[in-house]
Amino acid sequence: MKNHLKEIEFSTEKFESALTDSDLEKYTLRLYIAGMTPKSVRAISNIKNICEVHLTGRYNLEVIDLYQTPQLAKGDQIIAAPTLIKKLPLPLRRIIGDMSNTEKLVVGLDLRKL
């Protein structure tokens, strides 16, 4: 129960801080690809571009090849490739595809400025 309360406090804090300085939030991203297929290559370059444009200096992108470490697919519940997982900030998001649709990608990563 105590932990639960803590969590709530924690998320409330986060919510408030997000309101004040959303621009400064750090992004933790993980991109799963299945080998260096044209789709994978496209996905990597697309996400790198977006990050450089919108999240300069405050993102952490990890690229994982499922063929090398297949056991990771289970933990992150991967079914499609490529899949980009936005771990932070919450909520968790899975963006599947080669990220060629920039519009959707921007929405999916909550980068759209209001």
Partner: protein, 568 residues
């Protein structure tokens, strides 16, 4: 409990035995080996269970590891759900015979941006299969992908690739799918899985539900095409193959006692045939269950096992009631020779009940099965179903060589020689119990309507329930017709009285005769006495006369002497 795979009649296609009771029989050996099988049906019809049992039986009976990919339930939920069926998934997981993997798809988390494929899923499957060397795989249910991934075109193309991959992998796969409106599955999975399609169905008829299974398609193999009822109970899935009505069962000429000596005497002195089917029909309260109890006890005395399906009474009620007529079945129950199954068939539905009976019979292996009464299978207008169900039950018992004893309640006012289920043609020995109403009372009468293969009595017997069981008595047949009960007793008393009277009359006449003889004798004696007396008198008189004559002659001589008469 390893089981040998069922050998198909003619081998066409390598098959993987499921180990599920009955399913291997109707598929001719199991599911197509190394190919996907689609199991579809509505919600709650047992798809997941069928798939899970396929894996568990594979692991425990055929030593084939299996992977369960759950799209809807987590590993923990699955383990808990099937624990009630006696499947210990934790243990099987620990011994690497079964691998459970939950695939989480949450539409709200997923955003599509451009092209993708399902390589992630394939990699996971591949890893899971390789990690335990799986031979069997379940995808439950892959249609969840359609809910999570909006791009149908990519999905369909990828599914095709997925099934190709699984075929190459050589695993036997069960894919479950929700029943669609016009198609077998909502998303038309049947177009990808074209090797074997099994449809499960859960129907409610007259408020009772029946589960049925049908093999819609089995490429490259013959299979049973009917709808087969199946049952899910505490030991899992069981399908009932019911087409085996070849009428080729062997018959026994051994006889078994009915438990009532007089009844045995009516059945040419030896009782019923072993393995035959016996029907006792009659109106309410004519003693059908009592006959059944006698038969059961007789079987127990022969150390045979009796399975008693009581459809209207609880076991303790039966035991109590039978004790009142002097049949104590409790020792037999304790000894394990009588087993009761008290269930209302309407609770299960006919087909499920039949499956239940099959299972109980297969488990208990009785020599005698009693069903009391079969008429309660009829609820409303399901006569046709009930008849076909009973026919299959009778056939099943005959094939197994089990003596079947059925009672049937004849409704008041209906024709006595008409069972409500019209199964007389299936029955070998038919005993009819009837009320005989006479002189303001009802009495029970019993006669044998038919008994195949033996000469039997044509007599009506009066049937009484005493505190030492059923007794059969001769009915009174006299000039006034057939009499039973107190009329019979009265008539018998009257006859006895008449007989007594006649005897007394004879005695009286005999006494009379004696008396007359004696009086005659007395008279003779008297006459004789009289005669004697007269004789005596007469003789006396004669003597006197002779004396007189003598003295007269003396006087004459004396006179002559005095007159000096001439001497002559």
């Amino acid at each position: 409990m390893k089981r040998e795979p069922v050998q198909p009649l003619f081998s066409t296609l390598p098959k993987t035995a499921t180990g599920i009771q009955g399913l291997d029989e109707i598929t001719g050996g199991g599911l197509p080996k190394g190919r996907p099988t689609l199991v579809c049906g509505n919600a709650g019809c047992g798809k997941t269970l069928l798939a899970m049992e396929f894996l568990v039986r594979g692991a425990t009976q055929f030593n084939e590891p299996g992977v369960f990919m759950a799209f809807e339930e987590t590993e923990k939920e699955l383990t808990t759900n099937v624990a009630s069926l006696g499947f210990d998934l934790d243990e099987l997981s620990a011994s690497k015979m079964i691998l459970l993997e939950h695939i989480h798809i949450e539409r709200s988390e997923i955003e599509e941006t451009g092209e993708y494929d399902l390589e992630g899923l394939l990699i996971r499957l591949n890893l899971a299969i390789d990690s335990i060397g799986a031979k069997r795989l379940v995808l439950d249910t892959i249609e969840s992908l359609f809910a999570g991934l909006p791009n149908i075109l990519i999905l369909r193309a990828e599914l095709r690739r997925l099934f190709r991959f699984l075929k190459d992998k050589g695993v036997t796969v069960i894919i479950t799918g929700e029943r669609g409106d016009e198609m077998l599955t909502r998303q038309g999975l049947e177009e990808y899985v074209s090797d074997c399609v099994i449809v499960l169905d859960h129907r409610v008829n007259e408020q009772s539900s029946t589960r049925r299974l049908r093999i819609v398609k089995y490429r490259g193999s013959s299979h049973g095409t009917n709808e087969y009822p199946f049952l899910i109970d505490e030991t899992g899935f069981s399908v009932l193959p019911i087409t085996s009505v070849g009428l080729t069962h062997a018959v026994s000429s051994e006889r078994v006692s009915s438990g009532i000596p007089r009844l045995d005497a009516m059945l040419s002195g030896k009782g019923f045939f072993r393995g035959s089917s016996i029907l006792v029909s009659g109106t309410a309260g004519t003693g059908k269950s009592s006959l059944a109890a006698h038969f059961a006890s007789a079987a127990c005395l022969r150390e045979e096992r009796v399975l008693y399906f009581a459809l209207e009474e609880s076991p303790s009620q039966i035991l109590r009631n039978m004790r009142s007529i002097g049949i104590d079945q409790e020792p037999w129950v304790n000894k394990g020779l009588i087993k009761f199954h008290s269930n209302r068939p309407t609770f299960y539905g006919l087909e499920s009940y039949l499956t239940l009976m099959h299972k109980a019979i297969n488990d208990y292996k009785p020599e005698v099965v009693i069903v009391d009464p079969i008429s309660s299978f009829i609820v409303g207008t399901n006569e046709f179903d009930a008849k076909s169900m009973i026919m299959r039950m009778v056939d099943f018992l005959k094939i197994k060589g089990i003596t079947g004893f059925f009672t049937s309640l004849t409704g008041a006012g209906s024709d006595l020689e008409h069972t409500s289920i019209n199964i007389s043609s299936l029955i070998d020995t038919w005993l009819l119990l009837r009320d005989i109403e006479l002189g303001g009372e009802r009495n029970r009468g019993l006669y044998i309507l038919k008994s195949r293969g033996m000469s039997h009595s044509n007599q009506i017997r009066e049937f009484t329930l005493t505190d030492h069981g059923v007794e059969l008595l001769d009915v009174y047949v006299g000039p006034d017709g057939v009499l039973t009960g107190s009329a019979r007793i009265a008539k018998e008393a009257k006859e006895k009285e008449e007989k007594l009277l006649r005897q007394q009359e004879i005695e009286r006449k005999q006494l009379d005769l004696e008396r007359r003889r004696r009086s005659m004798l007395a008279k003779v004696a008297e006459l004789q006495d009289e005669f004697e007396a007269e004789k005596k008198e007469t003789l006396q008189a004669i003597t006197i006369e002779e004396e007189r004559i003598k003295s007269f002659q003396q006087q004459q001589v004396n006179l002559a002497r005095s007159r000096k008469a001439d001497t002559l």
